[in-house]
């Protein structure tokens, strides 16, 4: 690849779109009563309906409809007053009926948008549609190099996943984001994930496949206004991969176009290890899914009252929550972004709710704890410390019982499982020395060791007192309250 990203962006304007599949967190499947627990023994959560046995019939899970409407409303969509399911016909061993019940030209939700914050600005991503469908089973291809069906010795199919309700959320093409396109794509998926999480309709775990993205990318020559041929990159399964997939397709397509070739309309596979895509099946011999209205189901006709009721029950959405918190905590857009990008919003909010000042809560979670999380390669929120503990540490610092250095040791103790902050203080003997007489004797001895410094201070160079403070802190092994030590030194020498 010789075309560099920046170079590509001078000639081409990227256009991208995302299709996101989200497994709904209903207790039972889309069209039958089977449970949907992740990771159960293969083929133990199945029945005649989700196995597609001859004669079986689907019955719509009303809760799945409700969840989809929730999602539609949260994404500012209009909700169809009448729509139908459709059959998408194609043969594949993990599809029990060799057709998937989906929606075609009558989606449940359509024409919405989601605002995405990026670099302090806002991009409005149009939502084309949100529709409901059933998931397929899962194939395990054994033998062969690629783990794909081609070249495998044999395949095993687990139908536990077959029939789990999925929503597919399709954006309109996003254009005009220029070199930010990969970041906007990632920010959109992040925001979507947060919205879905706040709605409590899915556990949105990309690593477990409960949220999966397909990324469409194309380039148009700057100023031409004509979109190029798009590719569809399948199964991009982490936030970072979304960004990398768009980035890599922009580079690749620019390279193809610069070489005078044409971009082929095809499905591409994203590889986590290299961050690049490779060609899958060509879409030019487009598969004909022979969609037609599902005759085994009656139309879905959510009443306006029901939709209104669902709308009224929507929780506070992430964007509203963010403006509320940002103003409550008096943070700039960028400071707030940093907090959110660190995944610390929930823990900071909880810490503040437990009495810490927003500044303190932010300081601990974004400072010491973010460093530790980074070292451990985990999210800050998954560290073994609770907002309760952090709030308590902050309280101990404000009360003067701990200084920052001691507080860090307390946090270490909590992370190492030594108990609550108070227990760690107790066990490690970390409280600051607040006994003035003990401090004064340490000060006197430090002054005696540094007569020249004492003289400087006396003569008005107050800054020089720092040397004495340092010596006292050393003598007390950091357990002194530095501010109090400074006061006492100045009193002594005045």
């Amino acid at each position: 690849m010789t075309v560099m990203y920046e170079e590509a962006l001078q000639k081409y304007e990227p256009v991208f779109g995302l299709e996101t599949h989200v497994e709904l967190g209903t207790r039972t499947k889309m069209f039958c009563g089977c449970t949907t627990v992740f990771g159960a023994e293969p083929n133990t959560q199945v029945c005649p309906v989700c196995l597609g046995l001859p004669g079986s019939l689907p019955v719509v899970n009303r809760l799945a409809i409700e969840y989809a409407i929730k999602i539609g409303l949260a994404l500012n969509c209009s909700i169809a007053s009448w729509c139908r399911f459709a059959r998408k016909n194609y043969f594949y061993p993990d599809m029990p009926k060799d057709f998937q019940i989906s929606q075609y030209d009558e989606p449940l939700c359509s024409e919405g948008y989601l605002d995405v914050l990026i670099g302090g600005g806002c991009v409005r991503v149009g939502i084309e549609r949100v529709h409901l469908e059933e998931d397929t089973g899962k194939s395990l291809h054994v033998g062969g190099a690629t783990g794909r069906i081609q070249g495998a010795e044999y395949s095993l199919v687990d139908y536990n996943r077959a029939g789990i309700p999925l929503v597919e959320i399709v954006t309109k093409p996003v254009e005009g984001t220029g070199y930010l396109a990969p970041e906007v794509a990632k920010a959109y998926v992040t925001e979507l994930r947060d919205v879905l999480r706040s709605l409590d309709v899915s556990d949105v775990r990309m690593e477990e496949g409960s949220m999966r993205c397909d990324v469409n990318t194309s380039l148009s020559v700057v100023g031409s206004g004509v979109w190029g041929t798009r590719t569809e990159t399948k199964n991009v399964n982490s936030l970072r991969s979304v960004e990398r997939a768009v980035h890599s397709e922009i580079e690749r397509q620019a390279f193809v176009l610069d070489a005078g070739d044409r971009v082929i309309q095809e499905t591409r596979h994203f590889h986590e290890d290299t961050g690049t895509t490779t060609s899958g099946r060509s879409k030019e011999e487009a598969q004909d899914y022979r969609y037609f209205p599902e005759p085994d189901l009656v139309p879905v006709a959510p009443s306006p009252d029901w939709v209104k009721e669902i709308g009224a029950s929507l929780p506070e959405l992430p964007s509203a929550r963010r403006s509320r918190l940002r103003s409550a905590w008096s943070l700039s857009e960028l400071e707030f972004e940093a907090l959110r990008n660190a995944g610390a919003l929930d823990v900071v909010e909880a810490t503040v709710a437990l009495g810490a000042s927003p500044a303190d809560a932010r300081k601990w979670w974004l400072g010491e704890l973010a460093r530790k999380a980074n070292d451990a390669g985990v999210e800050v929120s998954s560290l073994p410390i609770t907002p309760e503990s952090v709030a308590r540490v902050a309280a101990l610092v404000s009360a003067g019982t701990l200084n920052d250095r001691l507080a860090r040791q307390v946090i270490d103790g909590v992370l190492e499982g030594e108990g609550t902050p108070d227990e760690v203080v107790e066990k490690r003997g970390l409280a600051v020395v607040s006994d003035d007489s003990a401090l004064l004797s340490a000060i006197d001895s430090a002054l005696a060791d540094n007569p020249d410094v004492a003289e400087k201070v006396r003569s008005g160079k107050v800054a020089a007192a720092g040397v004495i403070v340092g010596a006292v802190m050393k003598a007390t092994r950091g357990k002194a309250d530095a501010a109090r030590v400074r006061e006492l030194i100045l009193e002594r020498l005045s």
Binding site: L53, P54, G55, S56, L57, V60, F292, P295
Partner: protein
Amino acid sequence: MNELITKTATELAAAVADGEVSAAEVTAAHLARIEAIDGQVKAFLHIASDAVRQAQEIDRKRAAGERLGRLAGVPVAVKDLFATVGMPTTCGSRILEGWHPPYESTITSRLRDAGAILIGKTNMDEFAMGSSTENSAYGPSHNPWDLSLVPGGSSGGSAAAVAAYEAPLSLGTDTGGSIRQPAAVCGIVGAKPTYGGSSRYGVVAFASSLDTPGPFGRNVLDAALLHEVMSGHDPMDSTSIDAPVPPVVEAARHGDVSGMRIGVVTDLSGDGYQPGVLSRFAETVELLESLGAKVTEVSCPHFKYALPAYYLIAPSEASSNLARFDGMRYGLRAGTGSAEEVMAQTRAEGFGAEVKRRIMLGAYALSSGYYDAYYGKAQQVRTLIIRDFEAAFEQVDVLVSPVTPTTAFPIGERADDPMAMYLADLCTIPSDLAGNAAISVPCGLAPENGLPVGLHVMAPSMADDRMYRVGAAVEAALQSRWGHPLLAEAKGLAS
């Protein structure tokens, strides 16, 4: 003939309930009849090995003073596309040979609850596609009136079993006429309930928007009895109607048509209809008039498009419904190599010619670029046919026509001529497309060949009781004229 097998279902249920006869005796008599003659009729694909045990259980219940169901001790033959636990379900196809469903259809489950003895599974055109049972992978069934003739289809095995006294009742399904046409050519009663009135759960699908399970009986009251027991809302079938079952038994007991407005569909007559069919039909209409009905002629101008519309809609749905038979999970698996090769080979070997023809027709009609011209247009025609019915039912209470243009035809005559075969369903298809109720009731023998002719009575959706009222009136009047049931004249079987 053992007299138990000539009794009606209504009589048998009463006799068992009163202890005049045991369910085991009734069952044994029918099993003996099957043993004696099914080698000729070939109505059955499978005989329930536990039939006697089912009957003994009924007898035990009776002895213990437990409440007996409405069909307690009455044998019922079941078309081989109802999923039944303990009996295979093949749909007349190689592709499902030996498949034992792990679950029970709603309807057979209701019949078991009502005390019926599920005596066996009956032959049918493969996946219910056909009008003669000649498309069965297991060979044709034979018409008890003349063993060289077809018993109609696709529920031909069920019709033949009842006409041959192998069972007093049987279950069929009607997608384009698959209950009414075999009932007509076998000289018995067969009804297609309102679509959604009888559950499809556990009934292997041919065309989902059309498939309607229904009853066969040797008289109107028996058909009504089975109709009532099998019907009613089923939460497992989304298209099932959540409303009370129309009072069909009550209607069958009161065959009174005085003051009833009856419309003769002028569009279902004329060229292509056998003269004897038309003459018997005309006489029956006169009979109805003499019984006090007000008869008028009604035109349903779009009925002439019903057959082509049906042959787009039904195959389209079938092409999708039958996709699941791919050798991956159950039934036949043929070939080696990739999954795709196994799927292709399984389907090539497992499906018969007619099934393949319809899958191809349907896949074509649904394909992109052709959808609007074929499937889309057919759905528009369907709407027009529904409107024809609506307009007609504003003027009259029921509509009547012949059931099928001809009497039973010889085995082999139309086997290689699909178009000729399709015409057998000319009169029955409109009600399938519209989803309303219709019944076939014997109305005499065609003079030219002495074979049975059926009267077709069509009623509005969820007014199934009306057609039973008309059927019962015709049956009573004709039987009193003949002095015996029509079936007594069937001479195909030695005894």
